[in-house]
């Protein structure tokens, strides 16, 4: 038992405190239950243990925890991110346990979808519960430990009041944490009562100057390049916050922090990377070129967290920018592809106009399916591999909308990508709408989901072999994932036969440049 004292422990459960073998996308497996293999093996693939120092400080940690850690250290507090396996040794003397999570209770997509489809609780929720049930935490609570939870899924505690009560969580913070965290910590140190819940509204988000620079490495070298989003999609909570562009010199400093601590790859994080440095939805090619040159200078491999399909199409058609950026990305002779998450959302122009009228800009909402297809073509030709998400169960969704989505997925078959359907979760302006899980899953939903499945299975093996896990060192992981894919195909065909569904045979003409 260490005698070292840490006043503020920042941590989360194993599914979040992992670099997923350096492959961010494998982290998505933590949103599902174990399928076709034991849970331990599933967890090893999805969320292997993070390397730590002798004090239990993880080599890499979630970016949000790193930001809070930096903020608290800058303000003179004794705070540290601690790996969940090492938390017990510090609880005896700690004043505050701060937690963050993307999906505490597996209520967000795609966890919620896995749960509905398999009827089994995903490992992320199971892992978090296991963490919270640690006897050391309840013992520390009796001694006066304060528990403050936050992160993008903080709202989920409103649906889990029994667990909120059982685990004696003092405060839930929903929103950007920089300003409120200092308030809450000060209250604890002054012995003042904590509020039960805080929603941080748009006017209380931090300015660029208030956002601290991380001091230690983030998971897979993720660095934030923007906060907020100007597209105003009604289902999204990020768009409620004002748009802020992080200056390039700050981005570079954080990249250097990661690289110096041995994290050689990096993820540029934004809701729409291609809007970096722009004004509203107008692109700024110079800023984007400089951003990628800086990233190229320091990083072995670069990834984008998110980009919008409209910006991809606009960037290439107006400025030839995707090709130019990919030239920079590939210029080190090591990297030959770039991964990104994109929002496909729907194939219905009518629904697009209703729920995300600015998502297609500068193109019209009516042209949304064509925007999607054009962007997929551009990405395929430039070795950008998208994981595309679409939303099922949106308010006012009709059968016709779903048929159009299914048709669009068929048209996307020739383009290397994964397409992941997600059930609508009420967030953003739509957060007071009925939850999709209260709604019946229709035949059209099943058709869309089947198309996504077969599209993704079709391309997954190609992506694993040629891009994602093509190195010798990744052979065991490659073998396991390919075995898993075989299992998924077998299982899916079995279920389809049982339900009397005919196999999906979309054309898959490869486009090779």
């Amino acid at each position: 038992m260490s005698s070292e004292k840490i006043d503020i422990i920042l941590t989360t459960d194993r599914t979040m405190m992992s670099n997923h073998h350096g492959k961010e996308f494998l982290g998505f497996m933590a949103t599902g239950p174990p399928i076709g293999m034991p849970e331990d093996l599933w967890m090893w693939i999805a969320a292997p243990k993070m390397k730590t120092d002798e004090r239990g400080r993880p080599w890499q940690a979630p970016y949000a925890l790193r930001k809070l850690e930096a903020l608290l250290l800058d303000h003179g507090y004794n705070a540290a991110v601690i790996d969940p396996d090492y938390v017990d040794r510090y609880l005896l003397n700690a004043k505050i346990l701060m937690l963050s999570h993307h999906d505490y209770f597996a209520l967000c997509p795609p966890s919620s979808e896995w749960w509905i489809v398999t009827k089994r609780e995903p490992v992320n929720a199971r892992s978090f519960k296991k963490f919270m049930e640690k006897p050391a935490i309840s013992e520390a609570k009796k001694r006066g430990l304060k528990i403050i939870v936050g992160g993008p899924s903080a709202w989920q505690w409103l649906y889990k009041i029994d667990l909120w009560s059982r685990w004696m969580v003092d405060t839930v913070v929903d929103g950007e944490g920089e300003r409120i965290a200092l308030d809450l910590v000060e209250r604890v140190f002054n012995g003042e009562p904590l509020p039960r819940y805080v929603f941080v509204g748009p006017r209380d988000v931090p300015t660029i100057d208030e956002i601290p620079l991380i001091k230690y490495a983030s998971i897979n070298g993720l660095v934030e390049i923007m906060r907020g989003c100007p597209r105003g999609c009604r289902f999204c909570s990020v768009t409620l916050r004002s748009l802020r562009h992080i200056p390039l010199e700050k981005i570079e400093k954080e990249i250097v922090v990661n690289v110096e601590q041995g994290v050689k790859n990096g993820i540029l994080h934004s809701e729409d990377v291609l809007l970096y440095g722009g004004r509203g939805l107008n692109l700024n090619p110079d800023a984007l070129i400089k951003l990628h040159q800086v990233a190229r200078k320091h990083l072995k491999e670069i990834a984008w967290s998110h980009a919008s399909l409209a910006a991809i199409k606009n960037a290439e058609e107006k400025y030839n920018l995707i090709s130019k950026i990919m030239e920079i990305v590939k210029s080190n002779g090591v990297q030959n592809y770039l991964g990104v998450e994109v929002g496909l959302e729907t194939g219905s122009p009518k629904l697009a106009r209703k729920i995300m009228p600015a998502k297609s800009l500068p193109y019209s909402a009516e042209s949304w399916p064509q925007v999607v297809e054009d962007a997929f073509t551009i990405m395929h030709e430039n070795n950008i591999i998208p994981a595309a998400t679409l939303i099922l169960g949106l308010p006012e969704e009709t059968s016709e909308d779903l048929i159009q989505t299914a048709e669009l997925i068929d048209r996307l078959r020739p383009y290397r990508s994964l397409i992941i359907p997600m059930f609508f979760v009420p967030m953003g302006v739509l957060k007071n709408k009925d939850w999709f899980t209260d709604v019946k899953i229709t035949e059209e939903h099943i058709e869309v989901m089947r198309r996504c499945l077969w599209h993704s299975v079709y391309w997954a093996e190609d992506i694993i072999n040629k891009f994602y896990l093509n190195k010798l060192a990744a052979a065991p992981l490659r073998f396991l994932l390919k075995t898993f894919l075989k299992y998924v195909k077998w299982k899916s065909r079995t279920v389809e036969r049982k339900l009397g569904l005919t196999p999906i045979q979309a054309p898959a003409t490869l486009i090779i440049k």
Binding site: L158, D183, F199, G201, R203
Partner: protein
């Protein structure tokens, strides 16, 4: 800059939280969302501090809101009288009361709404 030290509109609630009580609170939130401060403190006076059953109702309040900063506080019902006495001029506190038999001292600084 911190948040809790900023100016807040205060809505206090005493008694059992009900759908009607939630409606009253939401009415005030809608009003406050058009005003300058943009922050509301909802304080619930409870018989049992730490009993979170009222949060099931609060959920509907929070889900209606996207523009205000909202802070939810709990206090013991025993503190109500003292807090009313300590309220300052200009605080503009709204007290929503849903408790038959509870005598709230008349105070011009506090607007009392019966549910």
């Amino acid at each position: 800059m911190t948040i809790l030290g900023q100016r807040f509109y205060d809505v206090w609630y005493v008694g059992e939280l009900s759908e009607e009580g939630v409606d009253r609170i939401i009415e005030y939130l809608l009003d406050y969302s058009c005003r300058a401060a943009g922050r509301v403190r909802l304080r619930f006076y409870l018989q049992n501090i730490g009993d979170l059953t009222y949060m099931a109702y609060v959920r509907r309040i929070l889900l209606q809101n996207t523009s205000l900063s909202i802070v939810i506080e709990e206090k013991s019902i025993q503190d109500l009288e003292k807090d009313i006495e300590l309220a300052k001029d200009g605080d503009g506190i709204v007290l929503i009361k849903n408790m038959v038999g509870l005598e709230v001292p008349v105070n011009e600084k506090i607007k009392i709404i019966e549910v």
